[in-house]
């Protein structure tokens, strides 16, 4: 963001003025913020960053800002904030420390700035070393013709004990089978469902969909199904309350499952 603002400001300068300016100012849009500029300025000192004169650096920076102002260069806000801070640092470094004053000393602030510059330089060096490494797709290569893993679908069939019992009961009563509930109307009462469920629950060792507990003849006709579902559900809750069964549902509209509690 700051970089963009700065670039715009730099472009506003007439060509003649730019040519007249010092190298640093010509390159001003090449800087990535005030810290970058400070790092570049520090190179003129030609010393180890650990032994850099922060005072000298502050003066260089302030001079740069002055020149930019003289050229009516619009400096981005963060460059000016840094200038103000460096002016403050400069005064701290020049004046003898005031023991009554709180906050970090000039020397501490200067040391931290030197640390920041050294760290930024170190990261630049690391970036360069990183980019100079052998790189995938340029210096070394992956398999050009990968053979993808194909996914194969396998179906596993399953059934519950209740399915098995119901199936057997269905066979043994086929043809002759007329569930007594068929003689009544399309209503299964909760008492009926509860009586039925009490007998069935003993066989429900594993989680079984509540829908499987609906009595024969109550599963297809929507009205009967609704009645039996409501009654069976209420009966299931009753069994859970009695501590004879456990009930669960994985999520909204997921099947409600029931299991005996041992």
């Amino acid at each position: 963001m700051a970089e963009d603002e700065f670039e715009e400001g730099a472009k506003a300068v007439p060509l003649a003025a730019r040519l007249a300016a010092e190298t640093l100012i010509v390159d001003v849009d090449g800087f990535e913020g005030p810290l970058d500029l400070l790092l570049t300025l520090s190179r003129t000192q030609k010393v180890d960053l650990r032994r850099i004169s922060v005072l000298q650096l502050a003066q260089q920076y302030l001079a740069f800002v002055e020149r930019a102002k003289a050229l009516r260069l619009e400096l981005a806000a963060d460059y000016l904030v840094m200038a103000a801070w460096l002016a403050f640092l400069k005064s701290r470094l020049l004046l003898p420390p005031d023991p009554t004053e709180e906050g970090p000393s000039g020397a501490e602030l200067a040391a931290h700035l030197a640390f920041q510059l050294e760290r930024l330089q170190a990261m630049r060096d690391c970036a360069a070393r990183l980019m100079g490494r052998d790189r995938l797709g340029r210096d070394f290569f992956a398999r050009g013709l990968p053979e993808d893993v194909t996914r194969r679908r396998a179906t596993r069939y399953t059934a519950t004990l209740l399915d098995l019992m119901q199936a057997y009961a269905r066979i043994r009563t086929r043809d002759e089978f007329r569930p007594f509930v068929m003689d009544r109307d399309a209503i299964q009462t909760m008492e009926q469902a509860l009586e039925r469920l009490r007998k069935l629950i003993g066989f429900a060792g594993n989680w079984t969909d509540l829908a499987h507990y609906l009595p024969e003849g109550f599963t297809t006709d929507p009205a009967r199904r609704r009645s039996a579902t409501a009654a069976t559900f209420a009966a299931a809750l009753e069994l859970v309350r009695e501590g004879r069964a456990e009930i669960r549902q994985a999520g909204e509209f997921a099947p409600v499952e029931l299991r005996r509690k041992d």
Partner: protein
């Protein structure tokens, strides 16, 4: 300038050692998205190289390995060994409910074992499809029992330990009896009809060869 001298030196000193050429074609064949022919390889290698000779070495090196050097048309390519193809597949398991025919067949086997196919058909009142029995066998929920000492010595079916495990039963004797089923309201109060519906006698004989076929498998 110095580069020129180097290039000259290189061609003067002729091709790299064969072992180095082998490394080169190994890398090229690995990285290439399509088979490479000798001409292409030679074009990329230092002057004087002989990819044909290096290929022989490389091919030998990969003999019996997990990857092989194979000829594809005019070119050469690296391919995984065919016997390891199963490693390139991943299974996705999907659980589905057993069909009504299968669960009924299974119930009959569990309650009546050992039971022949003809007996299953008699109880169900319909013929049992080959697929249904195969499916239960494949799931290892049923297996073949002893042959019955009746004419034709038909094979029988029994349930397996896998079956008991799945349904959490210690033995088939733990299956609820008819009385319990009735008490649970799963069976009508009226006694089941004395005579079971008989299947078409033709169906039974038809089923017999199917059984022995299954048994052979």
């Amino acid at each position: 300038m110095s580069e020129n001298i180097e290039n000259n030196d290189e061609s003067l000193f002729s091709a790299p050692p064969l072992a180095e050429q082998e490394r080169m074609i190994e890398a090229m064949l690995f990285a290439s998205s399509e088979p490479l022919d000798l001409r292409e390889m030679a074009a990329r290698m230092p002057h004087g190289s002989d990819p044909a000779e290096a290929l022989v070495l490389l091919r030998k090196r990969y003999e019996g390995r997990g990857v092989r050097l194979v000829r594809v048309g005019e070119g050469w390519a690296m391919r995984t060994a065919p016997d390891l193809g199963h490693l390139m597949r991943r299974e996705v398991v999907e659980t589905r409910k057993l069909s009504r025919a299968a669960i009924e067949t299974l119930a009959i086997i569990a309650y009546h074992q050992p039971v022949t196919r003809a007996e299953i058909e008699e109880i169900r009142g319909v013929s049992v499809s080959r697929g249904t029995v195969d499916q239960l066998l494949e799931m290892e929920w049923i297996r073949f029992g002893r042959r019955k000492m009746t004419p034709g010595r038909p094979v029988t079916f029994v349930v397996t330990g896998t079956f008991l495990d799945h349904f959490g039963l210690e033995s088939v004797r733990d299956l609820p009896g008819l009385d319990e089923l009735r008490a649970a309201g799963l069976l009508d109060n009226r006694p089941p009809p004395g005579a079971m519906p008989r299947a078409d006698p033709d169906e039974e004989t038809e089923a017999a060869p199917g059984q022995s076929e299954l048994f052979e498998d």
